[in-house]
Symmetry: C2
Subunit: 342 residues, 2 copies
């Protein structure tokens, strides 16, 4: 049966609060029938999410009876299900809809959800559930596959979107490139990958390495980054991923105007230049690596400010720079193509 | 009932292969009745483990019928139970002995072990089991508690023992100091702590922070390090711990003669000087921090080589240095006392 996906963003329908929803709307539009939020009037997605055009936002499960999958469209800090979503999830399960969740709190472990799913025949898919138990071996890594990794200044600065856009841009140039998803949203988009932040800490680099080994028959892998090396909560995830995927080339991602760490307003971000040196130092302890481009998220500033920043970065960092939303990823795609020639 | 602990090291009775056993023998001797290894003739611990004096090594559960706890004395890469130990564990459970394990593979999840324990009334304690689900907040960190953290060149270079010896040395000097255990062996010794390498990656810094908040009424916390920032498998654990415990002072631990990463012989270790800079850079992104001493493990070299190395390090690093096994931890204890005066 064809998937007809309804995204749940109850009370959190904005680009900042429903990051997963926005990416699924952007990249899996073909499967979607709408978005469910009972706290707002029925309208189109574009107004609430700045993406999705006329895809409907509805305020009742009854409004889109053809939906057969409910997808949880948020990724909150800590990964628990907001209380307001609980009854809607339960109602969807009772209708026999499958439910897909990227939360840390697993739906299959919830007695009420599990019982309801058993009764209705619906399937609960916990995208972050994993049983990774292999340490990294750092062996049999192909030298014929170029590994590109997006890293960043902070959480939510575009690392996943940049990785997807670069992989798709390479494919359009007839390069055999694959996006390696490392978070629940990336997995929703790509259909495979590893939820690295949900892996037991001892096995995170090993879990990433397995993704590399499984896909290194491709010419290029573009590996989604997570968090940042200086984030107060998630630096372990960032380093385990960096050391597991052994990048040849890094793309630095940041957002103009971001001053403090996402989720920790009292923590100032380091300068992008000082952080660049940390990434280089930590990456090169594992594998020779350099930056090949910079992805600027300029959504909070005017175009003129963006263009000035882009020029400054290109001149000071001596690397191509662009905003893949405002423009496109071609400068970064070209940087990868240059690296392939080397 | 008083604990009468029998340590299981089946087929792995050496200082290198039974690290947990050696530390428990060193620090919890009062609870021990012996060590079980059916593959060697009955003898004393000292010969096999270089510690433990006349504590008996027996080759049958029948030899020490008073034992009421079986403690798994190994911590293998990957954390699975060796097949050779399985029947002995099961026999111990059937006798009604409690079993303590620091493996990643949980005994309570093993249907056969769980059923046997239910039948005999014994308790299975999985020391690495945790349900940590809080991200770090980096708030309410006391400025009245000095945090010292042992970090190192590689796995198994003495970080836990150095932390214990410094905490005990401070206590002898009437400083209110506590050892914060971060691994299963440290937890066996201290009776509390957090098995950080078994925490889901998103929550590792948060789990460490909880340990700090719970114990910062002490004057000094000495926090056990794990892995290294450059280890191919475990660097994520090391960084999550470093950023979760926000050390004021670091003690660098290394082993003379170690050339390659433990468990990955094809990976060369960086120089200790280059690694020192990585630790300083990564620690200082979170909290102002400096090295206060160096702990040298010199077990593989002659005393004269050790003494020359100690002099070289003290001169080049301008820090106190010592081997806490060969000598004692006093130079490091004094360095902490100096820091307390500042």
């Amino acid at each position: 049966m064809a998937r007809k996906v309804l995204i749940l963003t109850e009370g959190l329908s904005s680009p900042n609060t429903a990051k997963s929803a926005c990416s699924v709307i952007r990249y899996r539009r073909d499967e979607l029938v709408g978005v469910l939020d009972t706290t707002v009037p029925p309208q189109t997605c574009q107004g609430l999410f700045e993406v999705g055009g006329d895809l409907p936002v509805v305020n009742s499960l009854d409004a889109l009876p053809e939906a057969n999958v409910l997808l949880i469209g948020i990724a909150p800090t800590g990964g628990s299900l907001p209380a307001a979503m609980r009854e809607l999830v339960l109602a969807a399960i009772k209708r026999g809809m499958d439910v897909e969740s990227g939360l840390h709190e697993f739906f299959n472990d919830d007695a009420q959800f599990a019982a309801a799913a058993k009764a209705s025949g619906s399937t609960l898919r916990d995208l972050r559930r994993n049983n990774e138990r292999d340490v990294a071996k750092r062996q049999n890594i192909s030298t014929n596959c170029l590994r590109i990794h997006t890293v960043g200044h902070d959480c939510s600065v575009g690392k996943m979107v940049v990785a997807i856009e670069v992989a798709r841009g390479l494919a359009r140039r007839r390069v055999d490139a694959k996006f390696i998803a490392t978070g629940q949203t990336g997995i929703m988009v790509e259909g495979d990958g590893c939820p690295v932040d949900a892996v037991v800490a001892d096995f995170i680099s090993g879990a990433v390495e397995k993704q590399i080994l499984a896909h290194q028959h491709h010419e290029v892998l573009v590996i989604e980054g997570q968090g940042s090396l200086t984030h107060p909560c998630y630096s372990a995830v960032t380093l385990g991923l960096l050391h597991g995927c052994l990048p040849d080339g890094l793309i630095y991602c940041y957002e103009m105007g971001r001053k403090t760490a996402k989720g920790a307003d009292h923590i100032e971000l380091p300068t992008i230049e000082s952080q660049r040196e940390l990434y280089l130092a930590m990456a090169n302890t594992a594998h020779p690596c350099r930056f090949i481009g910079v992805a600027i998220s300029s959504r909070c500033v005017e175009e003129s400010a963006y263009l000035a920043e882009r020029d400054r970065i290109e001149s000071e960092w001596k690397l191509p720079a662009c905003d893949v939303f405002r423009e496109n990823a071609e400068p970064l795609v070209n940087a990868v193509l240059e690296m392939l020639k080397d």
